[in-house]
């Protein structure tokens, strides 16, 4: 490609599916996901890095899709909220947010759940403080956070049960 050609080929995996796309160099990951692929679960809540609504997992770690260029994701594994349910069954965090009323308007929820997913993969048995710290980059204007923390605690307990259940 020449220098006037401001496009890059991105080969990545999105929610387990391999993709090869030509993207403009200035395309943000959040626009790639929402506009190019049509995965609108990931939300945009601010003009960059303030709110956490756009949080997705890149190679298993939380990242702001609104501050990440799509072209930089070449060779990575991207996971969005759409990937979490397994054949229609909600995952533990989704069940937690449902059971504990962790979502009100729901706008922060996809980012909140992806940040929590990153947290639980790293630390399956978080204290309340770990959860508060782990979700500190995510803002919720509705719940006051208490219900969100309970939702993550619920999910952590479910995951622990599933594990011991499977072992028994």
């Amino acid at each position: 490609m020449t220098d006037t050609d401001h496009r890059t080929i991105v080969s990545c995996s999105v929610n387990g599916r391999r993709r090869d796309d030509v993207v403009p160099d200035n395309m943000l990951l959040v626009d790639y996901l929402r506009e190019h692929i049509g995965l609108t679960g990931t939300k945009i809540g601010c003009d960059g890095g303030e709110c956490g609504c756009c949080t997705v997992l890149v190679d298993g770690r939380p990242r702001h899709a609104c501050l990440t260029l799509a072209a930089v994701c070449n060779g990575t594994d991207i996971e969005t909220i759409e990937a979490l349910d397994r054949s229609g069954r909600l995952n533990a965090l989704q069940r937690g947010f449902n059971e504990k009323l962790g979502a009100q308007c729901g706008f922060c929820t996809p980012g909140m759940i992806m940040a929590a997913e990153g947290l639980l993969r790293d630390n399956p048995d978080p204290t309340e403080d770990d959860i508060r710290q782990g979700l500190a980059a995510n803002i919720c204007r509705c719940t006051g956070y208490v219900k969100i923390i309970e939702a993550v605690q619920f999910a952590a307990a479910e995951l622990k049960n599933e594990k011991t259940g499977a072992a028994a």
């Binding site: 403009p24 506009e35 890095g49 710290q133 980059a137």
Partner: protein
């Protein structure tokens, strides 16, 4: 999608290529994690024709120890810095400062190099395009006057990185790779100048590749603390790092550095007058007053300068008292 300038993205695999590209390409800027640069690009503060992404350079992503000390690549993420056992054990203020940057997601991909080279910040600058436009911009970017000090020709935007002061109290040095391929080592203090418009001494093409923390100061007690609006995420209104060694009830060695209260991260002058004396209340008060005198916050945040000056003195005093035990 809002305003996004059209730019070419380069992803060099070596530091040498990155430095050369940056110098040879018109209107090019480096981007690492992008947690500051891409915010500024999206707001139209920066309108580069090319971005040189440095995250594909594997050589600048590791932390290594040898007999001289700890060598931290500029591409190391703040999370890796904060969780590194050697950093936690030998240079605790550095780990604390990394953990105090923004929120956990930013720490996950924000880098050491990006944190040290962070642009200065101001209430009138870190705003959307329409906000700045309706205010006729300002000296720092496109405008004619400074809204903070309208009479003058200086910019007082505050350096607001958390990690620099913590590294400064350990006499950190940095490696810079120039566009000519030459690698030079210099004290971290020399990366900065007291000018909000142009606070970095880097030439176009200069890439910071590593930070070195000396072995001779390893394990000396230190701490970092900042004041911010929301404890979860915000930039420092004021921050202080202190390294303190006591010997027989007297100060053997002390260094204090500040952030958020000047256009550059600053080592407090005259802190060493405490050396050889006990840290009684009078000595701690004198230390606090000395810090307050050197902090020169301006009206660059929503929080008043007098408060930031008071708080930075209080932080330095409290950390020193805590370290003294």
């Amino acid at each position: 999608m809002e305003f996004m300038p059209d730019f070419k993205l380069h992803r060099p695999a070596t530091a040498a290529e990155a430095a050369k590209l940056r110098a040879d390409t018109e209107d090019a800027l480096f981007v690492a994690g992008g947690t500051d640069m891409l915010v500024n690009v999206r707001r139209g503060i920066e309108q580069p024709k090319a971005l040189i992404d440095v995250t594909a350079i594997d050589d600048i992503k590791s932390i290594a120890e040898d007999e001289d000390g700890l060598h931290i690549g500029a591409g190391v993420t703040l999370r890796d810095l904060a969780t590194n056992e050697l950093v936690q054990r030998d240079y605790p203020a550095v780990a604390q400062a990394a953990r105090a940057v923004a929120g956990p997601t930013h720490q996950d991909y924000g880098t050491v190099g990006g944190n040290l080279c962070l642009d200065t910040r101001c209430l009138f600058y870190n705003q959307s395009e329409w906000w700045r436009q309706s205010n006729d911009y300002c000296l720092k970017e496109r405008g004619e006057i400074c809204h903070v000090a309208p009479g003058g020709k200086r910019c007082f935007a505050a350096f607001s990185g958390d990690v620099a002061p913590a590294m400064l109290v350990y006499d950190a040095e940095i490696d810079i790779l120039g566009a000519n391929g030459e690698l030079r080592r210099q004290p971290l203090t020399e990366l900065y100048r007291n000018d909000g418009l142009n606070h970095l001494t880097l030439e176009p093409g200069d890439l910071v590749t590593a930070v070195h923390l000396p072995k001779s100061l390893a394990e000396q007690p230190s701490a970092y603390e900042k004041a911010r609006i929301r404890g979860s995420i915000d930039f420092p209104l004021a921050g202080a790092a202190v390294r303190l060694v006591m010997d027989g009830g007297k100060v053997a060695n002390i260094k204090i550095a500040l952030t958020g209260v000047n256009p550059y991260p600053q080592v407090v002058k005259g802190a060493d007058t405490a050396i050889g004396k006990p840290l009684d209340e009078d000595a701690l008060d004198a230390l606090r007053e000395n810090v307050r005198k050197q902090a020169k916050p301006m009206r660059t945040t929503t929080v008043a300068p007098w408060y930031r000056r008071r708080v930075v003195g209080a932080l330095a005093r409290r950390l020193t008292a805590q370290l003294a035990g």
